[in-house]
């Protein structure tokens, strides 16, 4: 039990997983990340010459990063944050403004911007914990935040360019604007996020997450500080969203507008990806992001039908999973695939 710093102890309300030996378990735990990374690293070898495909692939990786972060908030602690785009957008716009207007170095701007997102997400989480809000009410409050953010972006023309958006200067002369290297940067981000997710899962925090998700009352009674862990998940996940959004703002097209981070364009896609790939699982967000990105490319001629497709995926998967693999949606959270 010395493989990881915070190995689960006997006070955990969940039984420890069966593992052959500490050293092999840590390999097994992180192996899926390596496999996924190795497979995804091959993409530029095949498509490296097609600029448009690599742009789409890079965006796919950015969405995978969003989905992993959302998986920490929603998949791990059941907080329905319908403001993934807004939190990423806070990071994106804050970083762009800090770097271009306030003259901060790009990396510094990105860190400060992520802290802004973390703060906002933490507040949302804290308020919902303090007021003991049900899932649905967290959803409505965060949706209200999401839409307010969208309106602020449209309204504050001087800072955000309103409907037209702004060109981001910082990052133009870095590898973030080179096609294939920027793909690898985002792939690296996904690997880091997956590692954070797995490390959280394996730490004492992960045990607390599962305990409070399975039965909040039981977790509270057995000494898990439910409020603390919820806020922790909200803050960490939001920081990750903010950082991914900031990186996205400085990369690729060098342009961000209101639709870059809107509810309809980000939140819905992320939700569909997560549902598609498997809520609460390690690789679910990545599988979902890759599948959806590929599907979008295949169905590019039928782009009008995309909303119908998304809607159907949400309905079919929530109905199907509920009946098939597990009896209820919340039980989806309980599922923990060890791959």
């Amino acid at each position: 039990m010395t493989a990881v710093d915070e190995t689960p102890t006997t006070e955990s309300p969940m039984p420890p997983p069966t593992r052959s030996s500490p050293s092999s378990s840590i390999v097994l735990a992180y192996a899926p990340i390596l496999v996924a990374a190795a497979l995804l690293a091959l993409v530029p070898l095949r498509y490296g010459d097609t600029g448009s495909t690599m742009t789409v692939a890079t965006e796919g990786m950015a969405f995978a990063a969003y989905a992993i972060a959302f998986n920490i908030i929603f998949g791990s602690t059941g907080q329905l944050f319908l403001c993934v785009g807004a939190l990423a957008g806070t990071g994106g716009f804050a970083s762009a403004i800090l770097a271009d207007r306030a003259g901060l170095p790009m990396l510094g701007a990105m860190v400060v911007a992520s802290l802004c997102s973390a703060f906002l997400g933490g507040i949302l989480s804290w308020v919902s914990v303090r007021r003991a809000l049900d899932t649905i009410f967290i959803g409505i409050v965060t949706l209200a935040f999401s839409l307010s953010f969208q309106n602020l972006i449209l309204g504050q023309r001087e800072w955000t360019g309103g409907e037209t958006g702004i060109f981001v200067e910082a990052g133009k002369d870095t590898i973030l604007h080179d096609r294939n290297p920027s793909y690898y940067v985002f792939l690296g981000l996904v690997v880091v996020y997956l590692t954070i997710f797995r490390a959280l899962q394996r730490s004492r925090t992960g045990w607390a997450f599962r305990a409070l998700r399975d039965d909040q009352l039981a977790a509270e009674l057995s000494g898990v500080d439910v409020a603390r862990y919820r806020v922790l998940a909200g803050t960490v996940g939001s920081a990750m969203l903010g950082f991914a959004g900031a990186l996205f703002a400085h990369s690729g097209r060098g342009f961000i507008g209101p639709s870059t981070f809107s509810f309809g364009d980000v939140d819905v896609r992320v939700l569909v990806m997560l549902v598609f790939g498997g809520l609460g699982s390690l690789l679910g967000p990545v599988i979902g992001a890759v599948s959806l990105t590929v599907l979008d490319e295949v169905l590019i001629d039928y782009a009008q039908l995309r909303p119908i497709f998304y809607g159907s995926v949400i309905i079919v998967f929530f109905l199907g999973f509920r009946r098939g693999v597990v009896p209820a949606v919340t039980d989806l959270f309980r599922r923990r695939r060890r791959r």
Binding site: L80, V127, R131, L133, D134, T135, I136, F137, G139, I140, V141, L143, A144, F145, L147, S148, N151, L152, L154, G155, G264, V268, L271, Q304, L305, R306, P307, I308, F309, Y310, G311, S312, V313, I314, I315, F318, L319, R322, R323, A328, V329, T330
Partner: protein, 286 residues
């Protein structure tokens, strides 16, 4: 000032009806209908298509309302069955996500098939002065219809047996079952009723401005805001909240600006949840 308030009341009555439709389904079935605006616009588009084919306004409107109602009935009788078998948080979460899916499908169909179809019912005649403010006949007719619909609802819920049965299910589903009310039938009825109300809002709104596929999301969000401020389970609360928010909307658009107005409405909803989740009229229900 008076003009803005009167305008606000006209708008607010429609907001109220929008919120009532959402509140009924949430109060009764625990399903947050995130497709409310889509259902409404669906009705308006059907009316517009029928009138484009040369049908007179009144029968076209009736067909439109029937279409909105039918859409929600189908939802209730098919995918929502799975939701009703659940309980607690699971049920609410599943209902919300499935309705989100339905919203996207309807949105997709509308944008795909009828991207430019707009319903704009022009009510002719000179404006009529009320309290010294000239109001268009369209606004007045829209308000008249909305008030009439509200009165029908009041009579229905206060004085008819079936209306009382609906209220009993909202208050206590188990208890209602014990006294012989069939919650499933009541639920199906309320889905249909909510569809009619949604369609009615779209039709009356089209008397003051055109309604089409790009209005779906904003209508859903308005319905959500109004229902939340009304307390999500209180039909009178939703109506009162609608009128108040309509006035707030007009005053704020008039004195502050449009984009801030949306934020103000959203903040109203968020603050209601955080500070006073039972809504504007407190804990009253039905």
């Amino acid at each position: 000032m008076i003009a803005a308030i009167l305008d606000g009341i006209v708008l607010g009555l429609q907001y109220g009806l929008l919120g009532v439709g959402l509140t009924l389904i949430y109060g009764l079935a625990g399903v947050l209908n995130l497709a409310h605006g889509q259902i409404a616009v669906l009705g308006a588009v059907v009316v517009s298509v029928q009138m484009g084919n040369g049908m007179a306004a009144v029968p076209a409107i009736l067909i439109g309302l029937a279409a909105s109602s039918a859409a929600l009935l189908v939802v209730d009788l098919t995918i929502m069955r799975a939701v009703y078998r659940q309980s607690g948080e699971t049920r609410i979460l599943l209902g919300l996500l499935l309705m989100l899916g339905v919203a996207f499908i309807i949105d997709g169909i509308l944008v795909w098939k009828y991207p430019i179809e707009r319903l704009g019912l022009r009510i002719g005649g000179d404006p009529i002065a009320i309290l010294g403010v000239k109001m268009s006949r369209g606004s007045l007719l829209a308000s008249g219809i909305t008030i009439a619909a509200g009165l029908v609802l009041v009579v229905f819920f206060m004085f008819t047996k079936f209306g009382l049965a609906v209220r009993s299910v909202i208050q206590d589903e188990q208890g209602a079952r014990l006294v012989g009310v069939n919650p499933a039938r009541v639920r199906t009825f309320v889905f249909g009723l909510s569809g009619v109300l949604a369609g009615l809002v779209a039709v009356t709104r089209s008397m003051t401005g055109p309604i089409g596929a790009d209005n779906t999301i904003s209508l859903t969000i308005l319905a959500l805001i109004v229902a939340v401020v009304g307390g999500l389970r209180s039909v009178p609360g939703a109506f009162v909240a609608g009128v108040l928010l309509g006035i707030v909307d007009r005053l704020s658009s008039f004195y502050i600006g449009t984009y801030i107005t949306t934020i103000i409405l959203l903040v109203c909803a968020a603050l209601t949840i955080v500070i006073r989740p039972t809504g504007i009229l407190g804990g009253s229900s039905g």
